[in-house]
Assembly symmetry: D3
Homo-oligomer: 248 residues x 6
Amino acid sequence: MIENRVRDCWAEGKPALGAWLMIPSSTSAEEVARVGFDYCCIDMQHGLIDYQNAVEMIRAIQIGGATPFVRVPWNEPGIIAKVLDAGAQGIIIPMVNSVAEAEAAVAACKYPPAGNRSHAPSRGARHFALEDLNASTICAPMIETRQALDSIDDILQVPGLDAVYVGPSDLSISLGFGPGNSDGQETFDSALTRIISACKSHNIIAGIQANPHLASRRVSAGFRLVTVAADIFQLTDIMASSLESASK
Amino acid sequence: MIENRVRDCWAEGKPALGAWLMIPSSTSAEEVARVGFDYCCIDMQHGLIDYQNAVEMIRAIQIGGATPFVRVPWNEPGIIAKVLDAGAQGIIIPMVNSVAEAEAAVAACKYPPAGNRSHAPSRGARHFALEDLNASTICAPMIETRQALDSIDDILQVPGLDAVYVGPSDLSISLGFGPGNSDGQETFDSALTRIISACKSHNIIAGIQANPHLASRRVSAGFRLVTVAADIFQLTDIMASSLESASK
Amino acid sequence: MIENRVRDCWAEGKPALGAWLMIPSSTSAEEVARVGFDYCCIDMQHGLIDYQNAVEMIRAIQIGGATPFVRVPWNEPGIIAKVLDAGAQGIIIPMVNSVAEAEAAVAACKYPPAGNRSHAPSRGARHFALEDLNASTICAPMIETRQALDSIDDILQVPGLDAVYVGPSDLSISLGFGPGNSDGQETFDSALTRIISACKSHNIIAGIQANPHLASRRVSAGFRLVTVAADIFQLTDIMASSLESASK
Amino acid sequence: MIENRVRDCWAEGKPALGAWLMIPSSTSAEEVARVGFDYCCIDMQHGLIDYQNAVEMIRAIQIGGATPFVRVPWNEPGIIAKVLDAGAQGIIIPMVNSVAEAEAAVAACKYPPAGNRSHAPSRGARHFALEDLNASTICAPMIETRQALDSIDDILQVPGLDAVYVGPSDLSISLGFGPGNSDGQETFDSALTRIISACKSHNIIAGIQANPHLASRRVSAGFRLVTVAADIFQLTDIMASSLESASK
Amino acid sequence: MIENRVRDCWAEGKPALGAWLMIPSSTSAEEVARVGFDYCCIDMQHGLIDYQNAVEMIRAIQIGGATPFVRVPWNEPGIIAKVLDAGAQGIIIPMVNSVAEAEAAVAACKYPPAGNRSHAPSRGARHFALEDLNASTICAPMIETRQALDSIDDILQVPGLDAVYVGPSDLSISLGFGPGNSDGQETFDSALTRIISACKSHNIIAGIQANPHLASRRVSAGFRLVTVAADIFQLTDIMASSLESASK
Amino acid sequence: MIENRVRDCWAEGKPALGAWLMIPSSTSAEEVARVGFDYCCIDMQHGLIDYQNAVEMIRAIQIGGATPFVRVPWNEPGIIAKVLDAGAQGIIIPMVNSVAEAEAAVAACKYPPAGNRSHAPSRGARHFALEDLNASTICAPMIETRQALDSIDDILQVPGLDAVYVGPSDLSISLGFGPGNSDGQETFDSALTRIISACKSHNIIAGIQANPHLASRRVSAGFRLVTVAADIFQLTDIMASSLESASK
């Protein structure tokens, strides 16, 4: 079997806890991975990160001991295959709002017969069998609009889908609130509940973007792929409080 | 006059508080600068940062509102001139242990007649007069060995030198202790006292590498160029505590 | 309000004059911006420029005092969102030939409810409200084929569209002439007239790629987003004439 | 006419022999080109190669004396145009399974009236006429699925298509075998035969990914665009045998 | 023999005319080289250019048809050897003020017995004999201080030295004037005269940094390695005049 | 203890066999390391490799299972410290011809009291004690001139020196032969013999640059740090033979 700490957590019934990487640097990626996260997810959508950065960050995450995930910029097969070939073991795909989009996401992540990913013995594939790669690779479309919510049961039945990943900020906007987490707003809370419950029914992992204050609550709610903190926001928070304490 | 927040602080009799950048990324550099530091120092010695990174980070620091400093890898005129040409306004030079080395540092940082820096209208110089550039640029050799300590009064009299910058960890090692800050060890404490006192006598700014816990103490002791926090260590600290709180 | 020199020009009823950047360098980008252009547009379509270049060039343009625009390689939501997240304030989208394509362009450029851009507090968005970002961001599809010309009135009525940008060379080719500007050819001239007139009817800004010889003529004709010169062509022109004068 | 060694080979009725580049380095690209290959193909699909790498590799291949090809990550007009603008003279497009996909590939590779590629005088186009560029540029969709095989005669009749390029490993997977070449398997062998025969009927060049052991057999079978070896696999093979002989 | 357009010019008794590259881009480097300059010199001292940029720019200059020169950041053997290994055929070394410094420059540029450059079959050396490389490589120390001027006859007798290159701006500063060219100032004018005359006596080529207005005058005065124009200054000049004419 | 495969080999009385990396790519570096070499040495002297490349290659070598070495461009403390901070565990220093130069090399490689390397908890040092880092780091000056040969016994007695590394090609040139290995030439052969014998006397490891044909002979002669093959030469060799066999 291919080592994948996130799958190991799930096999043990535990949540996988991750870090979100928006700084385009293998140096910070490796050090964050060394902290002990199960996975580190390179945010190619909203981080200012391109493919060359991502390749080096994947190596850095692995050498730091975490499992490399990538959130791709868009549900586009070219970039999904490229980051998998570089060694990503989980793919988070933004704005998957329909069964067709979920099927496209799976098709891009998995080799035949599960999907139609093209094969070559590149970095992520050279030393493994196709079946093992399909079994190891985690395909996690994002649920972050009302439209996706309305199709959740159908989306979760798309074969080959391993998890869904909630984008609470876009979901909140889509539900009529502002960006960020809208906990306490009934529509928002019930959306999360519905997603978790649907995931349980279909035996799919529920994941979500959290923050240090919300992470344990999300775990308690049933999420099993929980991003605890994003590097750039944590860094500026602590630098600001350091400066403040030095200025006193 | 050329804008330089560090010189402004000194003119007002206040300490300049800075951030230390070891992550080779203009993205994190800009966000850290936005936090409100007077200067951000790019560590080309111990950070995994090369010239191309440094150039982009200098722009990012400026757009974030702080004054860009660079610690060069070594007391070598080629790299000192290159980062000044890129727009650095302060240069911290490691391991300056003698008058001759301090004179070389100044010569590299300043145009004639103060030094022998070569001139061209590159980024850092194009829109300014030579005199103003010499007046604005801060040349800060590091005091970080017993040998430097023994020559401190002579070093401080080298014309054109603006500040010295204490490297407490190497100084601590040189004095026979381990790396890090050796506060409480008499030899170490008295070394800092001696540097501050000598700086006052010679009207030179005393600077030092600190951390969030030590920064205000260093300011109280008389340091006026105080680095409050280093990005990579702060980042991993807060990511670790975030993970810990999520794991509970 | 978010500062945007192009919108300021339009508010004052003046044309915005810009530079076109095809050299993948933040160094030349910053210096060109310092010349005084209202905007500098990074050409990711025909310039040999990738995302990493573009991010640094956006910072360089801003520090140089101009408003950063990007022409994206294609009407694809992934790259549009990525350059906006990096801080671009205007997006020029090539080969928009139909209402559906114009709607897709707007959807990618604007947050809900105007579009479906995904939100995260990345560089271009962190310090601003969604509404202000939508109001500031300029979405300018290109009109550069006969097909687009035939649909111009419908395209201009797509909600959220701020401007159109004429690509005279592709338009010329599409109309059966060679590449370049075909001024004097009746079909070409009347196409420009028709676009300007339709823009006025629908209260949309008309923009166009010009050159130093044509720029003032385009302004007189009613264009309000006029690119005056492209770096690489200007550079080689002047280097050639410099060499010629030296060779005499 | 624009120089293109591959077209020269075909004009002389000879096969063009190429190298496959998966190492993202202009240094290795140039040295491999110097070996004497007719073309070197930069694999942007499965090589860990991004656009910035590709641009420098194209120059390196040309200075080394071979004709630069690029396999793009996906049948997407943005990236096809960008590598052509950088100077690629042949484009291999993965996973073209239908007439519509082949038409899209041609449209992206050729200027009007043959296609709808947008024109600007960038590196690959500045010094040439549109007609010559269309005549020189080789558009080679990949045939690598059963679906493509079933449509082969229709695909080969798409106007503007110059060659097809067989991906034997994906084809093998699609036909129910494992990755790699499945020579000896009747379904696989007859697929190759059928492609060659269809190419002859429609006067289209048949190309294929080979290896040092299969290359001459592929040439004998009628292929005229034959990739002989891939850099990364050859490199590790010879380093392994070197280590083995040193260890004895 | 190794092709070197600068040596060819000299062999024909003609001046070699060059471009100065301060923009860190292989794209602009190639296009400037295509203009027809005999050499293009990459300015690693005052341009914001690092080694990785320089390597790609050397290839770009060669493919554009000019001979690649590099001005190194400092008289340091490591970087001199690295740019020669990358293919530079002329080295301009700043601030060579004494015989010892000139000898060190030659030693770094030439293989034994002429110097002590280390040999490996890297890009610039792989396909040539040592003797030919020594004969082709141009070692040109800069004369740009009063101190150098005072030692000019001794410096010019250092074996292996091919040319000297006047830095008029630093020389002007050293002579007590401001930066730039101080033509008309007797001390400055006679310094140039003296250098040309000494070069003739010792059969060494005299070179100088010029600009489009001064280039032909420098050639008339006897300089045979004359840099006509610098990319970044020419670019901003023409962009400024383009903007001005568009604004009328 | 810090893991170091080269030290492990020596502890077991076995030679360490390595690969030489001149291709500036972490992709090829990782794959070469996976082949099974004890060490991979990044050639920053003659490879076209800069610091940014080296940092990523060090990670790639480690993830591939080999111990990362770096040959620095020159005996200069700035770059030696920077590659050690990035994680290099062995440093090969070119052109060390005297005791003073050997002492400088050691001083740059080791922390006090063995040397004067500056300390910070950067990548290569963060998780280890100073003593362990000194014990693990291999400092290997190159013996590659007649001058070094003449001082070999003194050089080998410099405290802190772990190994010497013969550069046979420069040594051959220095001894009056051409570049390459001059086996069979008595002066050359006896030079190697003398180095091995002196190393044994002083309990220093003898290392040498070899090739696939010479490696086992060098091991038999007593060398214990033997580089078996260089990536770029092996790659072009095998690509050439592949092309040749395909052309038959």
